[in-house]
């Protein structure tokens, strides 16, 4: 039949394509989860290839929830999360015979983004709760006592995240409190980058995302814990020393105490070399680094 030569051709292409790969003694680690961490995880995986060529790390995003359920189902070696495991998830893991072990691999300041034309410089946690929270009353920018000419409708356009995002959960816990809920009617974006992009082109908007996603096209508000306390700008320094009110730990979870290749990889991530990469990506390291 005439189809056969075509198939042989394709097979030959395939064979040629995989000729250049690594040796067969390669170990593959599955690393999945948080979209906040995915770019750092990628940078680690890319760099680690030079450290240990026989250990390959496959990185997938999808959100903290995705990574944690994969850990519970036993399909990943390391789950990335930008929030802590929930009690319910811990129960599920234990029911599946998985004992999650937590590692703090860095810190992330959650920046509040505004359009550059927005006159606001500082916001308090209470004001944020008023904007985002279920019981909050701030619907228009003048409720915050400002005169915002750039925003014609005067309405606050709230930009948020999809609900399996660790950023979404952490912002809720830190700003709205453990029992707080978001106000309905926000624009829920599928990634941190989308939040920043939308705020950059919408004068009336306010959004939140990891500091690493900040661009020059948006403005960041300094955040004060309460009305009287000093407002702090989000930065790598203020996230590490704890002075910035909404900074969160970035986590990696393994199933049980890590051994072998997983342990080597995590040890390297926590070493000065691994931690320097996280700083390059705009996150805060777990401890002060020597230069």
């Amino acid at each position: 039949m005439k189809r056969i030569p075509l198939f042989l051709g394709l097979l030959a292409m395939l064979a040629a394509a995989c000729g250049g790969g690594a040796g067969s003694d390669r170990v593959v680690l599955q690393n999945k989860g948080s979209d906040t961490l995915v770019n750092v995880a990628q940078a680690w995986a890319e760099k680690y290839k030079e450290v240990n060529p026989n250990l390959a790390v496959a990185v997938t995003g999808g959100g903290s929830g995705t990574g944690i359920s994969a850990l519970i189902n036993g399909t990943v070696d390391i789950a990335n999360a930008s929030r802590k495991l929930k009690a319910k998830e811990l129960e599920q893991a234990k029911a599946n015979g998985v004992e999650p072990k937590e590692f703090i691999v860095g810190y992330d300041a959650l920046a509040v983004f505004l359009h550059p034309s927005n006159p606001i410089e500082t916001l308090t946690i209470a004001q944020l709760a008023d904007i985002y929270g279920e019981n909050g009353t701030a619907e228009n920018w003048d409720a915050l006592g400002i005169d915002f000419e750039g925003c014609k409708s005067g309405e606050i356009i709230r930009v948020s995240r999809q609900n399996n995002s660790g950023t979404y959960v952490y912002f809720k816990d830190a700003v709205l409190g453990k029992t707080g809920e978001y106000k309905l009617g926000s624009r829920d974006m599928h990634g941190s980058k989308d939040v920043v992009d939308l705020v950059a082109k919408t004068p009336c908007a306010i959004g939140y995302s990891g500091l690493a996603y900040a661009t020059h096209e948006v403005k960041m508000a300094a955040i004060a814990m309460e009305a009287g306390s000093p407002p702090v700008m989000p930065s790598v320094e203020s996230a590490s020393d704890g002075s910035y009110p909404i900074a969160r730990p970035l986590l990696m979870y393994t199933a049980g105490e890590p051994t072998g290749a997983v342990k080597e990889y995590l040890d390297w991530i926590l070493s000065d070399e691994g931690q320097r990469l996280i700083v390059e990506k705009g996150y805060a390291p777990v401890r002060a680094l020597q230069n």
């Binding site: 395939l14 995989c18 593959v28 790390v57 399909t75």
Partner: protein, 289 residues
């Protein structure tokens, strides 16, 4: 001598108007294609180089090449074809050459049409449930390619069946009258005469398979892999997902990079199409009717 009446003139005017209106519509149709290609070539063209094609992404995917994604897409398309072409062609041969016209055949035809209309994200979730979890293939090339194969089966079946039915009935009857069996007829008369049409279906399938993102996102494609897949149980990077990732997920990607990825993806599909079209024309020239 013939004089054009006013009716003749009006009709002629109308004729011209309609003709140019339809021409305009046709031109409007190809305009987006030209614009897309133009923008991609203008913005992505400068990054194209052998290095771009054959090196790994570097600096957190903001620089370097697309080699693992390119190889991954070749893997995904090839493995998907290995499943969908034999199954699709066999099903089409049955439906066109053997199946009696009864309720079962009509039901099958209905199912094929419906399968073609299922959104790709639904196929993705089906693939996740069936291949990744139930059959335990994990997130792998095998699971992703099977999902793609199922999604593109209707294209192969419908186009193959149509090209089989385009072979004149007289050819088959002549063959049967010589005492040939049905299979001998199919093998030596029907298939050789319809191979060009079958290839058209395969071309369409290749293009669609290479470009799909949703079905592979959950079933086999990774955000980043520092190695090339070694077999069908490995995960892989893919051009379509890589394009999605560099344009929406990674901060600080230089503007030309996503355009470069898109341009390579389009060129890949066009090259595959052109090869198959050339092959098809060669086969068609040998056609005797």
């Amino acid at each position: 001598m013939f004089e054009a009446t006013s009716l003749n003139r009006r009709n002629r005017q109308k004729e011209g108007l309609v003709r140019y209106l339809f021409l305009l519509m046709t031109l409007l149709l190809i305009l987006p294609v030209l614009i897309i290609l133009g923008v991609l070539v203008a913005k992505g063209g400068p990054v194209l180089s052998m290095d771009f094609l054959f090196t790994y992404p570097t600096d957190g995917m903001t620089a370097g090449g697309i080699f693992p994604a390119l190889v991954g897409t070749v893997w995904l398309v090839t493995v998907a074809l290995l499943f969908s072409v034999p199954i699709g062609v066999a099903a089409a041969i049955y439906l066109s050459e053997y199946a009696p016209d009864n309720w079962l055949t009509r039901l099958i035809n209905l199912a094929i049409i419906n399968l073609a209309g299922v959104p790709s994200i639904v196929h993705a979730l089906f693939g996740l449930g069936a291949f990744v979890m139930f059959f335990g293939f994990g997130t792998s090339i095998l699971a992703a390619s099977l999902t793609l194969a199922i999604m593109t089966l209707p294209v192969v079946i419908v186009s193959t069946r149509e090209s089989l039915q385009a072979v004149p009935m007289a050819f088959r009857e002549a063959c049967w009258n010589m005492g040939a069996t049905r299979w001998q007829t199919i093998r030596h008369v029907v298939l050789p005469n319809s191979i060009s049409g079958i290839l058209t279906g395969v071309i369409l399938e290749v293009s669609r398979t290479a470009g799909e993102t949703a079905p592979i996102m959950f079933t086999g494609a990774a955000f980043f892999l520092p190695f090339l897949p070694q077999g069908i149980f490995d995960q892989t990077m893919a051009m379509s997902l890589h394009l999605f990732v560099v344009s929406t997920q990674v901060p600080g990607v230089p503007e030309h990079l996503p355009y470069g990825v898109a341009l390579v993806l389009i060129l890949m599909v066009l090259t595959m199409n052109a090869t198959s079209i050339a092959f098809r024309m060669y086969l068609r020239n040998k056609k005797k009717w």
